[in-house]
Amino acid sequence: MLDGVVRKGEYEWEIPVGFIKGMHVPGRFFLSDVLTHSLEEGAVQQLANVATMPGIIQYSLAMPDIHWGYGFPIGGVAAFDYATGVISPGGVGFDINCGVRLLSTPLRPKDLEKKKEILDKLYDAVPVGVGARSPFRLSDRQLDEMMIKGAAFAVAEGYGVEEDLLHCEEQGRMKEADPTQVSKKARSRGLPQSGTLGAGNHFLEIQVVHEIYDEQAARIFGIEKGQVCLMVHCGSRGLGHQVCTDHLQVLEHAVSKYHIELPDKQLACAPLTSPEGKAYFGGMAAAANYAWANRQIITHQIRSVLSTMCGIAYDETRLVYDVAHNVAKMEEHMIEGTKKKVCVHRKGATRAFGPKCPDVPGDYTHIGQPVIIPGSMGSSSYLLKGTQVAMNRTFGSTCHGAGRVLSRSQAKKKIKGKDVRDTLGKEGIMIKAPHDGAIAEEAPDAYKPSSEVVSVVHNLGLSLLVARLEPLGVIKG
């Protein structure tokens, strides 16, 4: 472990105040011994940097998928006091409301005799990769509605069923959305991209439930062993990316206006109560809503393909849940015995609200919020449930994925896309991607083992295992 970092428990490590100048609170991160080998100094530095931001409460936190990003580390979580704290695009990222949704079906693997054709149809129905354009044409008015209503806009347009909305974090809509804080540039990027997957680590995967760890929770989430599911990972596309870019410019000036000292320009921020802070939050929420609508439109496309190819009814493909893992939210948390309004930033971290918490859907309220942790391409994904431990210790947060260990260039040097395709093909996992380079970049060996990351949050009780899903077919963005 790096000099100055102190072990606090089997899976807990602390960066003490004083590790760098100006820290208001300690840093705290969660790693098993195995995962400490891939911890980067840059990620620890970034976690310490976050601890210098005004109004941060208790800890600058990072989940076991921590890695070096920009601004916050990926896997970073921080809560800021509403009255004295700040909001920062560096704690959200360019891909606002990048997130994951899990769909269940009544299908079994034996029903997927035409798996290749199904993947081909899904690939045609959901545009992927750089330069992909949507078949849907939005008017300016529709784009406004999409940013205000989120997933509900898509459902009202016929792309889903009402029940879907109950199974989305925030019911697929942040009410604070303010489309007037979304620039013309951002709108022009968002207009042609609704219902597109994007590129990089975004994916659409056909999976099978391989193992159930918690029968009661699985039953309530509508999951059973041997069931075919689909997982979608994508975000707010160019619209969200541009909202981040635009507001970073404004917030850079706000840093000097409000006399905030920061160790990294990417942490540019403004007080939550300032006009600049409110403007970013409104724009960010609008982009978050765009992302929920985007995943809802993709869901519609999946349902349509499965209805045609597998003969199941449209609403037999059911939304288990949809989580955001790049977002800032106004939430109430108990801080030293007092309920406080705070702004929780989760950058590469998933909300993991426990049983009976607000915003957990009524049918899941006794179990806790479903937490969806995608694995790297070709590896296991997990369904977990939120806990009171997470509410007490991490502002209701847990990990979001496997976390990279190899850079994209290292991955491409060491791994050939064709070899990954062949290896996974032998295991019965088909891949469709715009090119083999994308496969190499996202190969399983470029990531930490998702099982190890998930076992840390499970052992700490930050979220608890419900089911493991294995891939059958992957569409890579």
Binding site: Y70, D95, S407, P434
Partner: protein
């Protein structure tokens, strides 16, 4: 062209070196395009941009963000940059050709230009900078 990719676990970190500032900006633009697209493009179409900023870093960040925007919205693979910088204002002509998946496909989507570690340094006879692309 004088840019090379440096190791960064999550994103793409480019190290750029050039004998003068306009060349540094041009090579940063080329680094961005080579990240996003494969193959070569010809200067068939032209668009122009103007950026203002109080520092060279602000100009570079604005320039790259604007190229990213123009490329995505106009579906343009940019191969030539004609850059003029004068007292906090950058004017550039961008030339390229429309994105064709069979020719230019296979690159990486860049979500944004990070401010993380962005500084322009003068070292003897050249200028250098590191730019992180969020992918």
């Amino acid at each position: 062209m004088s840019f090379e990719e440096r190791e960064h676990t999550a994103d793409i970190l480019m190290h750029i070196r050039a004998p003068d500032i306009p060349s540094l900006f041009r090579d940063a633009g080329n680094a961005l395009m080579k990240t996003m697209y494969r193959g070569t493009a010809r200067p068939k179409e032209e668009t122009s941009i103007m950026i203002t900023g109080s520092s060279l870093e602000q100009l570079l960040h604005g320039f790259l963000s604007e190229i990213l925007f123009e490329s995505e919205v106009q579906n343009l693979v940019i191969c030539e940059f004609e850059i003029q910088i004068d007292e906090g204002t950058l004017i550039a002509k961008l030339r390229g050709e429309p994105f064709n998946p069979s020719v230019h496909g296979g690159g990486t989507e860049v979500k944004g230009i990070s401010w993380h570690g962005l500084s322009i340094r003068q070292e003897e006879n050249e200028y250098t900078c590191d730019v992180l692309f969020d992918v």
